[in-house]
C-alpha cells in the first residue's frame, strides 16, 4: 500500500467529516429549539409573534440543512470508496448501525422535512407540529446510530472474531449500549444545542444592535430563548464531557497520557503496546491531540463566563435590548461552539491513532487498495467542492440572517394551486 494513499484518504475523511459536523451540529440543535418554538406557537393558539419566530428560525434551519445532507452523502460512500479494509474487517459489526441510520432515521427525517416544508398553511396545526417533532426526533436517532458506529471504532464492543479472522457481530445489545457511544451522544446533543442557542442569541443580538424594528418583540424573545437555552445546554455538554474524560484513561490510556503530558507514562504505555501488538508507534500525534483538547477546554471556559453574564443581562429588559456592547460580544460568540465541536472531534479521532478500530485494526490497514493517483483525483474533486459549498451556503445563510424576520415575498401562485388556506 502506498503510504501516500493513507495520508490522502485520511485528509479526505477528516475534511468530509469536519465539514459535515459544522452543519449537522447546528441542524440538530436548531431542530430542538424550533420544535419547542412551534409547540409554543401551537399551544398559544397561534399568536402572530410565535408563528413569525417559527418561520424566521425555520428558514435559517432549512438553509443550514443543505450542506449537512450533501456532505453526509459523501461520508456514506466514502467508507466503501476509501476505507474498504475497514468494511472487510469490521463491517459486519459497525455496518449494521450505519444501515439502520439510513433506513430508520435519515429516510424518515428527510421525508418529513419535505412534508413540513410543504405543509405550511396546509396542514392542521397539530399535524404540522407532529411532523416537525418527527423530523427532530429522527435527527436525534440518526446521531445515535452514527455514534454507535463511531463508539465501536473507539471502544469495540459486541464483537467476536470469526473463523476467517474478521470481526462479526456477536452481542447486539452490547454494541447498542456501548458506554463510549452513549456518553458521546449526550455530549454532542449538549454541544449541538449550545451551538444553536448561541446562534439564536447572536443573530438576535445582531438585529437588536442594528436597531431592526421589533414591535412585537420577536428579537427580544429570541434573545431570551437563546441565552436561556445556552445555560442548560452548556451544563449538559460539560457533564457528559467530564464523564468521558474520566473514562479515557481506561479506554484509550495513551490519549490520556499524551493529553496530560505525562512522558514517563507515554513511554511505559508505548512499551506495553509493543509487547501486546508487535513493533510500531502507538503514540497518537501529540501536538494535535493535546492542542485540540486544550482548545476545546479553553473555549468552554470562555463560553461559561459569557453565558453566565448573559443570563444576568438578558433578565433585565432594558439591558437585553439596549446593551449594545454585550450584543457585539454575543455576535462574537457564535463561531465558538463550532470551534469547540471541531476541536473536540479532532481530540477524539486523532487521539486514538494509529488505530481505526481501537486495539484491533490500524488505520493504515483499513485503507482501500487504490493508487495514490486515484485518491488525489477524489481529493481534487471533493475538497474544492466542499469549500465552495460551505462558503456558498454560509453566504446564503448570512444573507437570510441579514434580511431578518421579514415575511418572504409570496410566490406567484401556480395556475393549479388553490389559494392556500392559513391553518393557524
Amino acid at each position: 500500500m502506498e503510504s501516500q494513499t493513507v495520508e490522502l484518504a485520511r485528509w479526505q475523511f477528516a475534511l468530509t467529516a469536519g465539514g459535515h459536523f459544522l452543519f449537522v451540529s447546528l441542524t440538530l440543535g436548531l431542530a430542538t429549539v424550533l420544535a419547542v418554538l412551534q409547540t409554543r406557537a401551537t399551544l398559544r393558539g397561534g399568536q402572530p409573534v410565535h408563528l413569525r419566530m417559527v418561520r424566521f428560525w425555520g428558514r435559517l434551519y432549512v438553509i443550514n440543512y443543505a450542506v449537512g445532507i450533501v456532505t453526509g452523502l459523501v461520508m456514506e460512500f466514502q467508507f466503501g470508496m476509501a476505507w474498504s479494509g475497514l468494511g472487510t474487517y469490521a463491517g459486519d459489526v459497525f455496518g449494521s448501525s450505519l444501515a439502520l441510520e439510513t433506513v430508520l432515521a435519515f429516510f424518515v427525517e428527510s421525508t418529513f422535512l419535505a412534508l413540513w416544508l410543504l405543509g405550511w398553511g396546509r396542514f392542521n396545526k397539530w399535524v404540522h407540529l407532529g411532523v416537525l417533532w418527527v423530523v427532530t426526533l429522527t435527527a436525534y436517532l440518526s446521531a445515535y446510530w452514527v455514534l454507535v458506529t463511531n463508539g465501536f471504532l473507539n471502544r469495540p464492543a459486541g464483537h467476536a472474531r470469526g473463523a476467517d479472522g474478521r470481526l462479526v457481530l456477536s452481542d447486539t445489545s452490547a454494541m447498542l449500549t456501548n458506554p463510549n457511544a452513549l456518553l458521546a451522544f449526550g455530549h454532542i446533543l449538549g454541544g449541538a444545542l449550545l451551538t444553536a442557542a448561541l446562534f439564536v442569541a447572536g443573530v438576535s443580538a445582531y438585529h437588536l444592535r442594528r436597531g431592526t424594528a421589533d414591535e412585537d418583540g420577536l428579537l427580544r424573545r429570541s434573545l431570551r430563548v437563546g441565552v436561556f437555552t445556552a445555560l442548560p445546554a452548556l451544563l449538559l455538554t460539560v457533564a457528559f464531557g467530564g464523564i468521558q474524560f474520566g473514562e479515557i484513561e481506561e479506554w484509550q490510556p495513551l490519549k490520556a497520557a499524551v493529553f496530560n503530558e505525562d512522558n514517563a507514562e507515554v513511554v511505559r504505555l508505548q512499551a506495553e503496546m509493543v509487547r501486546e501488538f508487535g513493533p510500531g508507534n502507538y503514540v497518537p500525534p501529540e501536538a494535535l491531540t493535546r492542542g485540540a483538547g486544550l482548545l476545546m477546554l479553553m473555549v468552554f471556559g470562555v463560553l461559561t463566563l459569557a453565558v453566565l453574564v448573559s443570563v444576568v443581562l438578558v433578565s433585565v429588559r432594558r439591558w437585553a435590548v439596549g446593551a449594545r456592547r454585550w450584543h457585539l460580544v454575543l455576535m462574537a460568540l457564535v463561531p465558538l461552539p463550532f470551534v469547540a465541536m471541531t476541536a473536540g472531534w479532532v481530540f477524539r479521532e486523532a487521539g486514538r491513532q494509529p488505530w481505526v478500530v481501537y486495539g484491533l485494526l490500524r488505520t493504515e490497514d483499513a485503507v482501500s487498495h487504490v493508487t495514490a493517483g486515484r485518491m488525489w483525483l477524489s481529493l481534487a474533486v471533493f475538497v474544492p467542492l466542499f469549500a465552495v459549498l460551505t462558503v456558498g451556503n454560509w453566504w446564503v445563510l448570512l444573507r437570510a440572517v441579514r434580511q431578518g424576520p421579514v415575511e418572504p415575498e409570496p410566490e406567484r401562485a401556480e395556475p393549479t394551486e388553490p389559494t392556500a388556506a392559513v391553518a393557524y
Binding site: F79, T102, V103, F107, L118, L385, V396, E414, P418
Partner: protein, 256 residues
Amino acid sequence: METLAVALLGFFFVGYVVLGGADLGLGMLLPYLGRNREERHRTVSAIWPLFLANEVWLVAAAGLFIGAFPTLEGEVFSGLMVVFVPLLAGWMIRDAGLWWRAAGSGPAADWLVCGGSWLAAGGWGWLIASLLNDSPTEPTSLGLGAVTTLFVLLLFLAHGLGFAALRLTGTPLARALRLTGRGGRGGRHSLLLTSLVSATLAVLAGARLPLSEHAASDTALTLIVPLSLAALPLLLAAHLWLWRLVSRTGFRLSSL
C-alpha cells in the same frame, strides 16, 4: 434472511432509479423545458422538495449495502471509485443548486441543477455499464461504457419527460407534451413505460453482484432486516402522503 436482505437492497435501489431518475431527467431537460428565467424557475420548482424524498432511497440502499454486504460494498465502491467520484460530485452540485434556489438565490442556481443532473446521470450510466460488465468491481472499457452511458442518459431524459408532463404546467408542460405526445393520458403511459425500463435495468445491473455469497453474519442480518421490514410500511406511507400532497396542492418553490 439473506434473500430478504437482497430483496430489501433491490427494493430501495430500484426505488431510487425510478424516482431519482425522474427528477434527474427533469433537471437535465431544463434548457429545453424552460426557455426563460421564469419558466426555468418553475421547472426547478417541480423537483423541490420531492428530490429530498427521492434521494433517500439511494441513501438507504447504500446503507443496506454496507450493513448487509460489507465486504462486497468495499470491493465495489473502491474498485469503481473513479465512477463514483463524478456521480457524487454531480449529485452534490445539483442538490446545492436546488437548496440555494429554494433559499432565494439567483437564476445561476438553476444551471447548477441542470449541470449537476447531467454529471450525475452520466455517472449512473457509467456505473450501470460497469456493473453489467464482466467484473462489477472494475470500471468498464470506454467503448461499452460510452454506449451504455448514452442509453442511460436517453432513458433518464425520456423518464424525466414523463415526470415533467405530470408535474409541470403552462408552456413548459406544452413543450414536454410535444415530445411525449398528448395521448396516453398526458404522459402517464410514457412515464410508466420508462419506469419499467429503468427498474428492469436496475435489477439486471444489481443481479450481477454476488450478493448472497457476501452476506453479513446472521446476528447482523437479524438486527438489520426485521427492523427495516417493520419500518417499511411507515416509510411508504410517508411517501404516499407526500406525493398526494404534491399532486393535490400544486407547488411553490419556497415556503422558506
